[in-house]
């Protein structure tokens, strides 16, 4: 238990450090936020000065940092220059799309990599093993943005079976309960719309899943090979249990642990990947919003989003560590 407390204390240090870096990044970003916010409006110097005071930009950096933390804890990241609405509202609007895409990619990556990795280990040196190894190498070497374009060309343009961009068909209005369209359509009993949402999700989630599936498959293969060589598997086989039962009930169960840990760690990398994927597929999520905001110099939004991503990433890593410890009592943090 003490180690968990230590880990949580360490987490606080990391989060504080992350916040300092994000604050410094934005503070040192060139350009006067007041000028950017006023844009083309012809404001009198006194009005600009009043706005500067309102935004607390006339205060010393240290004071601004503590004010930033105080506000951030309350979810107040100021106004989005571009949308002229609170940043947190704009992010909340876009977040469900990103969560849906990330979860779909995670499910897809697990569904591809675990059976394939296990089969590759069982048939070590065989055709499937070689194909899976080549596939994994291609997966880690393929630039995601180009893979996305190729998928669009093949499935959307040439074959015309999947949509190019967006989350659902035009005019398909679904009452927003969770913001995740695949779930909302099911809750509303709209199965046609559900199919539409899935079709829109297919290509972006596959693009995002690929770089994650590749290392996951290799880890599953390696840990499965190790388990297959272990005494208890040999013992189970010697006891007369069927090969199939030994493989899928005993070996895979034990081989899954490293894969689950890597999956939790890699989920963090999906957060970065979705900026690229959302940009390629016109997916209306947070990743695309951040990229657009950089070009619009909408810094309050960039600041909040980077912090949100980093905090999520740190928490995911902590959960992965804790899950690993719980699953494997031999490991202590």
């Amino acid at each position: 238990m003490g180690t968990v407390v230590d880990r949580l204390l360490q987490l606080v240090t990391v989060l504080l450090g992350v916040t300092v870096i994000v604050f410094v990044m934005i503070t040192l970003t060139p350009g006067d936020p007041v000028e950017i916010m006023l844009g083309d409006m012809k404001a009198a110097p006194e009005q600009a000065e009043a706005l500067r005071r309102d935004m607390g930009l006339d205060r010393p950096p240290v004071e601004r940092f503590f004010r930033f933390i105080g506000n951030a804890v309350q979810g107040n990241f100021g106004l989005s220059f571009f949308h002229r609405r609170p940043v947190i509202d704009v992010i909340a609007e876009r977040l469900p799309a990103t969560i849906e895409l990330t979860l779909a990619a995670l499910v897809l990556a697990l569904a591809i990599s675990i059976p394939l990795g296990a089969l590759a280990a069982v048939q070590k040196g065989g055709a499937l093993d070689r194909a899976a190894t080549i596939g994994a190498l291609l997966g880690v070497s393929m630039p995601g943005f180009w893979f996305g374009i190729l998928l669009i060309m093949l499935f959307a343009v040439q074959l015309g079976v999947l949509p190019v961009s967006g989350r659902i068909g035009y005019g398909d209005e679904v009452p927003a309960l969770t913001g995740l369209l695949t779930i909302d359509t099911l809750l509303a009993g709209r199965f046609d719309s559900f199919a539409q949402a899935l079709r829109h999700l297919a290509l972006p989630s596959l693009t995002l899943a690929l770089p994650m599936a590749a290392p996951l498959m290799r880890v599953t293969r390696a840990s499965m090979l190790e388990v297959l060589r272990s005494d208890y598997v040999m013992f189970a086989e010697a006891k007369g249990l069927s090969r199939r039962r030994v493989l899928w009930r005993h070996a895979l169960k034990n081989a899954l642990m490293p894969a689950v840990t890597i999956a939790a760690l890699e989920t963090g990398s999906l957060l970065g990947g979705n900026m690229i994927v959302e940009s390629v597929f016109g997916w209306p999520g947070l990743g695309r919003l951040v990229v657009e905001s950089i070009f619009a110099r909408n810094y309050p939004l960039v600041q909040a989003a980077v912090l949100l991503y980093a905090v999520t990433y740190v928490l995911l890593n902590l959960l992965a560590d804790l899950a690993y410890t719980l699953l494997n009592p031999k490991v202590r943090l």
């Binding site: 450090g17 190498l137 291609l138 190729l150 669009i152 990947g273 960039v302 990433y313």
Partner: protein, 300 residues
């Protein structure tokens, strides 16, 4: 074992050195050797671009707008891979783009490795406050997803070649640092280090002349693996418009430029995407071969 203390402890039998054995093991791996040759060929093409490149990569000729490659109708040998939307030669831009990808990759890996090794050695050998400070900084930087950190920093510094390199170095050094710290922690308890200490070798001498040579091979292997990763990151930043700025050719921005013409002129972004895939794949295969040959844990 190139260290003095290790030499003293080395067995007197004159066998083939471990390095020579590792090199021989690497050369036996035909796929890895072929991949290394592909990497070297791309590097040579990149270096030789100003002399062997058929055209100026930035010379626009609107009469040749979206001209197809030589094997398609309307193509010609002097513009073998066709032209982009501004009528610029794609082959020349690919060759110059390779300079950007390789230069950024090599510079980032060299600086990040040098800094990571120095900090990792200091943290692992000196321990105490220095270790705590460096380890906390590493933990904090690991708290950012790579691309998010890069995007945040690029927003601060603005796009451009130098800034891409600085951004990637600022995040990449934690990888060798963690590796070297771990290896140093193990090495400092080894007999050869204790022997050196007993002989009165100073802390800097032990770190640089005893520990460093003995942990160098995993560092080199990891550096080559990370090179592929850095090249994809640079291409990703350029694709988003945050990396190298026009008119400088870079593979990532070439893919982005050709995206809107994929229906009528697939060659504009396809060749650049293929170039990234080829280089990264070749580096990955070659670095796996290096790892298998040089890291004893992979010898079976």
């Amino acid at each position: 074992m190139s260290s003095h203390a290790a030499d003293v402890l080395a067995p007197p039998i004159a066998a083939r050195s471990p390095t020579a054995e590792s090199v021989a093991r690497f050369l036996d791996n035909r796929l890895a050797v072929a991949s290394a040759i592909v990497v070297i060929a791309i590097v040579l093409l990149a270096i030789g671009a100003p002399w062997i490149g058929p055209h100026d990569p930035n010379e626009a000729d609107l009469l040749r707008r979206l001209q197809p490659p030589v094997w398609l109708e309307g193509g010609e040998w002097s513009f073998a891979l066709g032209c982009d939307a501004l009528g610029r030669d794609i082959l020349s831009r690919l060759m110059y783009g390779a300079r950007v990808s390789i230069a950024i990759g090599v510079i980032v890996i060299l600086f990040a490795t040098a800094f990571g090794v120095a900090t990792g050695l200091a943290a692992g050998y000196l321990r105490g406050r220095i270790d705590t400070l460096i380890s906390r900084l590493v933990d904090i930087l690991l708290g950012f997803p790579y691309l998010i950190f890069a995007i945040g920093l690029m927003a601060m510094m603005g796009p451009g070649l130098h800034n891409v390199a600085i951004t990637l170095i600022a995040k990449e050094w934690v990888v060798p640092c963690r590796l070297v710290r771990g290896e140093t922690l193990a090495a400092r308890e080894m007999e050869y280090v204790e022997a050196a200490r007993a002989l009165g070798v100073g802390r800097l001498g032990i770190m640089l002349h005893e520990i460093l040579p003995n942990i160098l091979s995993p560092v080199i292997v990891v550096a080559t693996i990370r090179l592929a990763h850095v090249i994809i990151l640079e291409a990703s930043l350029s694709f988003l418009g945050l990396g190298v700025q026009p008119p400088t050719a870079s593979w990532g921005s070439m893919v982005a430029d050709g995206r809107e013409f994929m229906l009528d002129a697939w060659w504009v972004s396809t060749f650049a995407g293929l170039a990234i895939l080829t280089l990264v794949l070749a580096i990955n295969v070659a670095s796996q071969g290096l790892r298998d040959a040089f890291d004893p844990r992979f010898h079976d």
